[in-house]
Amino acid sequence: MTESNPTVERPLFCRFNIIAGIFITIGLWLTYLRFTGGLGAVSNLDHYNPWGFWIAFDLLCGVALAAGGYTTAAAVEIFGMKKFHAALRPAILTGFLGYSMVAFALLYDVGRPWRLPYPFVVSPGVTSVMFEVGACVALYLTVLFLEFSPTALEWIGAKKLRRIAVRLTVLLTIMGVVLSTLHQSSLGAMFLLVPSKLHPLWYSPYIPVFFFVSSIAAGLSMVIFEGTLAHNSFKDKMDEQHLKSADHIALGFGKGASFVLAAYFAIKVFGVALGNNWHLLGTNYGIWFLVEVFGFILLPCFLFAIGVREQNVKLIRWTAFLTVLGIVVNRLNVVLICFNWQLPADQRYFPHWMEIGISIFVITVGLVIYRFIVTRMPILYEHPDYKKTH
């Protein structure tokens, strides 16, 4: 622990652990229900709406918000922005935990989770976009694990292994960006198959590009947002180098995010033009689309720009939260709100509380592991015996 700030003891029964405990017990009970009563017992999924809150939130939003890993790694390792080095390890940790939560949540949604390796081992269905998504997510999970390993090895103290892991970082980062580009865009491409079900304002041949560009914005905002949270609760764990560069990271990433959001707004408008759906902007879904595009893309972009020009870090941190919210809204739109938009109201889907319960359970498990790692492993500070080596 660095001497500069006092160590905060964390008693076992502090507020966070109690709430986490409650959620986890509920979660375990729901898990029991899920794997005894089947999907029908815990969800409102049905004939017309096979994909519900888990796929929309845990899978799509989870993957998009865990994009911090590859964006930060690319910025620091490949584009050589060493000043953001302090943000690298927390971002890799968020990415790794994010993808683990995605995989964990997938176990609940899929009918036979033990058959998840079948596409690669037993009978590949290569015409499906989901095959590509599955392959890339699996590979990227291993890449993230390897990128995360130096921190863990430092904690364990396996020096020789750590040196090999460190030498791989550049290769892993490149592979990380390749795989992320693939599956972020392919998560969107999965919906290319259903032009008759997704609302024309959201359905467009550009969906893969929309999903990829928005994932960059999500990644950058998530790093800022995660930095804010880490500052609130783990300030004592941070070494002075980390503390000093925190504001600088926020500004740098804010500028990047603003830049990417501008591009994302432009291609969203191009998407409407491509499908010639201007007349749809007048309908109810049209207004909702305008809310999403102007309220959750252009507004954050504008606020980020103001924040960077005025050096107002507080504004940037709040806008990061707004962008994260925007990405969640977009993913929920594509999978739930604007999907099956042409069906009558009684065949539409609304999540069952148990589905939301299990999602919260998955997130809580993730947070607990995050706390465990951050309070022990050299994430927010540099391990004493590897002061200047990497």
Partner: protein
């Protein structure tokens, strides 16, 4: 070859399957090629640097 492929689904299964194999092969060989390309760079090579 075409008379054996009757549906677009079959065509895509074959082409995409082949593409995935080729891409996997390419990625692995790319790493090897990278190391081969940068093998003798002086700066990067810590041993060389130490000697100088």
């Amino acid at each position: 070859m075409n008379e054996y492929i009757h549906t677009l689904q079959e065509f895509m299964t074959q082409t995409k399957g082949m593409l995935y194999l080729l891409s996997a092969g390419y990625l692995i060989s790319f790493v090897a090629f990278w190391r081969f390309l940068h093998g003798r760079d002086k700066e990067d090579n810590p041993k060389v640097q130490a000697k100088k």
